[in-house]
């Protein structure tokens, strides 16, 4: 690489109480950190908000553009100021690419002939981008799991890379000084029906405790879970901060993620678990993991020595039974889990692969436009 590359990240919201606190926004934060770690890239995050503005955070420059959309909803915002803001960048990475925000931004970026990469973070399924094939305008697509790739690769024929992560493995790490309670099962997810927390409670045997960490976004479901938890050793932590969460990762014995494509009310859920980041964070902290066969979750636990997959109640009961009696996992599973995350999903691993992909896209774009006479 001969000079510093300028990369713009476009996201409809940024990870902050001022904007939106969700997995998609956190992903953009992580991605920029991963790229920064590699070096050779100057990055700027563009997002939309109620008013124009700029700020710095963690050494990154954020530019907020006044939302011009008359549509409601975070992912429906956009700004035409991108026409003025983006010239000069070597590459634009459009996050939440299958939304109105993604479609509008794609139209502008492509008109400016800047190499572009799109990533679906589960915010929408915009028909113009899918059925209308707008996604083909990207020079490259990053999918956040093989599962996510499977949803897109029938619609997209260009460069396509799967990057699961990144996880900050220095932050999410075991604490040798903290004792683990092997009987403590940890479940980290928002309290909403498609997370399948009911399935974990239903299968929880006597002798194990369950701690559920996550904000409540569905009160009737929360009530249902509390009723199901009657008589069992179940705790809800609905207001955990980062420190508390880390402490739970470091002191629990097993992590469970039980998301489902068909919730307890019979509702089918599309694109459930494009990437189960909490599972990776737990594993980075040295926890073995049990996940459902939903979305991307099975691909996060490729080795049965530290991770198992269940498809229904009976299987989960069996796994809990083996865990309770010490048949699974063997000693050292936590270390294996962490080593796997460091190797495949850490900031370094993802940063290196992502920047290589960016270079590939820029190079291909340059060849293509040389042919087209740009």
């Amino acid at each position: 690489m001969s000079s510093v590359r300028r990369v713009a990240h476009l996201t409809p919201a940024y990870f902050s109480p001022d904007s939106y606190v969700g997995g998609g926004e956190r992903y953009v934060d992580y991605i920029t950190q991963a790229v920064q770690g590699v070096g050779g890239f100057e990055q700027r995050v563009f997002t939309v908000g109620t008013a124009d503005g700029s700020f710095e955070r963690n050494g990154f420059s954020f530019r907020v553009l006044g939302n011009e959309s008359s549509l409601t909803g975070q992912v429906n915002g956009f700004s035409a100021a991108l026409w003025q803001e983006l010239p000069g960048f070597d590459l634009v990475h459009i996050h939440q690419s299958l939304t109105i925000f993604g479609a509008y931004s794609t139209a502008i970026v492509r008109s400016l002939r800047i190499p572009s990469v799109g990533t679906d973070l589960g915010g929408g399924e915009n028909t113009l981008m899918l059925r209308g094939r707008g996604i083909e305008l990207f020079d490259g697509v990053i999918s956040i799991s093989e599962y996510a790739r499977g949803l897109l690769d029938k619609s997209y024929s260009g460069l396509h890379e799967v990057l699961v992560g990144p996880v900050d493995t220095s932050k999410f790490s075991p604490d040798p000084g903290s004792a683990r309670d092997r009987s403590k099962v940890l479940c980290v997810s928002r309290v909403v029906p498609h997370k399948g927390i009911d399935r974990v409670i239903a299968a929880l045997p006597p002798g194990l405790s369950l701690t559920i960490v996550g904000r409540v976004y569905h009160e009737p479901y929360y009530e249902l879970l509390r009723r199901m938890a009657d008589g069992k050793n179940v705790h809800f932590v609905v207001d955990a901060d980062d420190e508390k969460l880390l402490q739970l990762y470091r002191t629990s014995g097993l992590f469970v993620q039980a998301s489902t494509a068909l919730d307890i009310y019979g509702n089918a859920v599309a694109k459930s678990e494009l990437m189960g980041l909490t599972t990776l964070e737990a594993m980075a902290c040295g926890l073995p993991a049990v996940v459902s066969n939903t979305g991307s979750l099975p691909e996060l636990v490729p080795d049965p020595r530290f991770g198992l997959v269940f498809s229904g109640h009976d299987q989960l009961c069996t796994i809990f039974g083996r865990y309770s009696t010490g048949l699974w996992p063997e000693n050292g599973a936590g270390a294996l889990a962490r080593a796997h995350v460091i190797n495949a999903h850490s900031m370094d691993a993802i940063g290196n692969r992502l920047t290589a992909f960016y270079e590939h896209v820029i190079s291909d774009h340059s060849k293509q436009w040389t042919q087209c006479g740009s």
């Binding site: 094939r133 499977g150 029938k154 494509a261 859920v269 599309a270 694109k271 459930s272």
Partner: protein, 419 residues
């Protein structure tokens, strides 16, 4: 012959077999020395390999990527799609004047203003043949009131009266008669779906290594029975049978990824995306049976014929169009269109209870002998020549008022429908 082809869309944009067939026939006619000019709609996909005789100038008023909820907008689109769009009619008249065809060969007009186009051909006294692979006359009948159709030349029967008709199946003709009340009394020729495979692949041994390989190809949509295939696969997997299902075809795969997951069939069902015809022929030759639980309304269906031609027996809905050409137990297995029936047959196949080699061999012989493209393109050519030879007033295309008449018809229809 100078042949003017009119089709709503042409490859590389395709929705199904209709457009692929039109593209293949147009190319074959050009290769056989005819002067061909194809008028079709503009598309968003790259088409740099187009031959010079394709003109993508028509406006397309259908197959929009976004749905509209406003009923008046829906009606308007439908009107332009099925009844009349003057700009397209004017383009057809211009093409007729400049190209001076011996015959106009009309394919699917859905989306480009069918009634107006046919009326213009009648007014210009251009002999025309229509190739029916779907019940498109019904699209006019069900979306345009008779008094509006009358603006374009009397009844629906009158509009089609000058046409020579090529239809894929009796099934289709009967359906058009029932749904549109249109029974063709003139020159009607049956031309089924065909196999365009100059060099047949040798079929690999069936159920190699004890694994049964099912395959299907087509648009990813419920009418094609993809949902049924996934559900049946889920059941059989739970029974412990050893098999796999490869699903080829374009469309939004996302719902099917989740459906496969919901039926616990992720390790036996693969969604493989779209493939070219040539690639599919190779895939068929490596597969054991072709699944085609399509809806009963399917006018024909090229894919099972192509699979049969590659010695891969189809398992197909018993009363779809293509089933007219294949005999149950001889060339294919026909089923009632439900998940139970499909599951039962797939189980029989995966358990080795069906003699796939025998079925595949007879199917391949039948298709290669009777349903070859080489044979049917000759028949199409003969139909077009017959149509072109009918008496006509060749100077009618030079009537300078053709556009005025078409414009008046278009405006009148609009007034009658929307005023």
């Amino acid at each position: 012959m100078r042949i003017l082809i009119v089709s709503n869309i042409l490859p590389p944009k395709v929705l199904g077999g209709y457009e692929i067939a039109c593209g293949n026939v147009a190319r074959a006619l050009a290769e056989r020395g005819h002067e061909v000019f194809a008028l079709t709609a503009a598309i968003e996909l790259p088409h740099t390999d187009d031959p010079p005789w394709i003109s993508r100038g028509l406006s397309l008023h259908w197959f929009h990527p976004t749905e509209v909820s406003d009923p008046s907008v829906k009606q308007w689109r439908l009107h332009q799609a099925t009844c009349s769009d003057f700009s397209n009619t004017a383009r057809l008249i211009a093409a007729v004047r400049s190209f001076r065809p011996d015959v106009c060969y009309v394919w699917n007009y859905m989306g480009i203003g069918g009634a107006g186009l046919l009326a213009a051909l009648n007014a210009a006294d251009v002999p025309w043949t229509i190739h029916l692979m779907d019940r498109i006359p019904e699209e006019i009948a069900s979306n345009t009131a008779p008094h509006i159709v009358s603006v374009f030349g009397g009844t629906l029967h009158d509009l089609f009266a000058p046409a020579t008709v090529i239809a894929m199946s009796e099934h289709l003709l009967n359906e058009i008669a029932e749904s549109a009340g249109l029974r063709f009394t003139g020159d009607v020729e049956l031309v089924p779906g065909w196999l365009d495979l100059p060099e047949p692949h040798t079929h690999l041994p069936y159920r190699r290594d004890g694994i049964t390989r099912f395959v299907t190809a087509g648009a990813l949509q419920p009418t094609k029975g993809i949902d049924m295939i996934v559900e049946a696969a889920g059941r059989l997997r739970r029974e412990g049978l050893v098999f796999e299902v490869a699903v080829y075809g374009g469309g939004n795969a996302a719902p099917y990824v989740d459906l496969v997951n919901a039926h616990g069939a992720t390790d036996v069902v693969r969604l493989c995306g779209a493939r070219s015809q040539a690639e599919l022929f190779g895939i068929y030759a490596e597969s054991d049976a072709f699944l085609f639980p399509t809806w009963e309304r399917e006018p024909f269906g090229f894919a099972p014929i192509e699979a049969a031609g590659c010695a891969t027996p189809p398992i197909m809905t018993r009363n779809c169009g293509a089933s007219e050409r294949l005999v149950h137990g001889v060339h294919c297995i026909k089923i009632k269109r439900d998940v139970d029936a499909l599951t039962d047959v797939m189980r029989d196949v995966a358990s080795g209870h069906i003699d796939l080699a025998r079925l595949g061999g007879t199917a391949a012989r039948l298709v290669r002998q009777d349903l070859s493209f080489a044979r049917w393109i000759e028949r199409i050519e003969a139909v077009l020549a017959r149509c072109a030879s009918r008496p006509r007033n060749r100077s009618a295309v030079d009537d300078p008022r053709l556009e005025q008449l078409a414009y008046l018809q278009d405006m009148l229809a609009l007034q009658m429908r929307f005023a």
